[in-house]
């Protein structure tokens, strides 16, 4: 015979939130920021092949923090959604806001109804064009979606990194300055992060349809010099 105990919704939500936060805190953090010519995404990532930052569509990028297998599945779903939408309608109909909403719904559903909440935080970045604005959408583990005006931080130490980054970021800067500030904020005052442990991607207009570019270690070193 089994016993059922009453657990209040407040307690259940609190337990689940704690569980998700703990999982997310185990991974390294990442910063996304708008610079004068585009959007920068920087993650601390010791692996050169298990990416946290990825191209979703012509002007949309994805970043995840927390459990790799969980956010990677969301990344794949995002690429499928974007390519499918563009194939069915037109390339200009693929909008980051719609994708961010789908992610928020899914994370929200998993948080309340899933076996366990997803231990991830994700970011959908969109480079602006004549028909859409530049946007950073941060989606938390429980499905809260926030539209970040200039920069967003994901991961365990988000609060501390946010403060460090904001202290040097009163206005929009060049790619080089923004990258230096982001890497400094990720590292904190007591350590430095090797270039090989940084994953850097940008969304920037370079005259081609696709705007996502993954920067090589050499390019990152050059910018950080």
């Amino acid at each position: 015979m089994s016993n059922y105990f009453y657990v209040s919704p407040e307690q259940l939500t609190k337990d689940r939130a704690e569980f998700a936060q703990k999982g997310i805190a185990r991974g390294r953090s990442m910063v996304a920021a708008i610079y004068d010519n585009g959007v920068l995404l920087v993650a601390e990532n010791p692996s050169a092949s298990l990416n946290k930052i990825s191209e979703i569509y012509d002007r949309i990028a994805f970043a995840g923090a927390g459990k790799y297998n969980e956010f990677d599945r969301l990344r794949e779903a995002g690429i499928r959604w974007a390519d499918g939408t563009g194939f069915t309608y037109s390339r200009e109909d693929v909008d980051a806001r719609a994708l961010a909403n789908y992610y928020a719904q899914h994370l929200g559903d998993m948080f309340t109804e899933g076996q366990k909440p997803l231990e991830v935080e994700i970011l959908v970045a969109q480079l602006g064009s004549t028909i859409r604005p530049t946007k950073l959408y941060r989606i938390a583990y429980e499905g809260t979606i926030s539209d970040e005006p200039r920069f967003a931080v994901l991961g365990g130490e988000a609060e501390a990194i946010r403060e460090r980054f904001a202290a040097n970021e009163e206005s929009v800067h060049s790619l080089q300055e923004t990258l230096k500030n982001a890497v400094g904020a990720l590292a904190g005052p007591d350590r430095t992060i090797a270039t090989s442990e940084l994953e850097v991607g940008i969304l920037e207009d370079r005259g081609a349809r696709r705007t996502f570019l993954r920067l090589t270690d050499e390019q990152v070193s050059e910018l950080l010099r």
Binding site: A77, G84, F87, Q105
Partner: protein, 264 residues
Amino acid sequence: MGLPLYDAHSDPGPSFFQYAQTAGFAPSQHASTLESPHATTVIAVRYDAGVVMVGDRQATGNYIASRDVRKIEAADRFTAIAISGTAARGIEFIRMAQLSFEHYEKMTDSALSLEGKANYLSPIIQRNNLSTPLIVIPLLAGWDPSHRVGRIFEYDGAGGCYERFDFATIGSGTPFAENTLRLGFRTDLDREGALELGAIALYEAGDNDPSTGGPDFVRNIYPMMVTITEQGFQELDVDDVAARFRSINDRRTQSGGVAGGTLR
């Protein structure tokens, strides 16, 4: 369309075509007896630094439906796809190929090999051609960055994929273009030689095949000419192409409408 999430055992992987089938927006394969216009000549010639492609611009049904169709498109930076057969299916086929290669690259963070792209298209052609009379026969050519060489892949009606090491043609003008290519092809062709041979072969097809459009000096519409090399897919500009066809035309005028003894 909701968020396309799949379980590990039903995941379509990085194949966009597989996903499109799962999600239900891949082209339907219901049999139909509808015959629709098809006629074309597209030529691919291999040379020392890549591949030259030349394609006519005419869409033909019972009458000329369009004079400025693009039958060669870049599938990605290093790959070109040309189509012959039913226009509607051909255009859809190009979209599917373009999207598939990019989709694979985004999903896996690595580009498909040229041979991988060629093989990927086989079942798509097979599925289309064996289930409807709306036949599509494509031609794939590209620069293979891992082997540093230009390569050409042709297909039969059932989707069989064959690599060609010299040249290939598709469309109704094939017999005329192919004869010219067989006489003029050399293994040591350079860019200029390959462009010249491709243009003459297309001129021959346009001259003899009623469904292949030759150079249109009245409307200033000329066949498409592209090169695919280490620099990627590059289309020759219209003045360059016009000059080439004008020169062939002038030579033919001098020799009474035929090449006149040498391939020129």
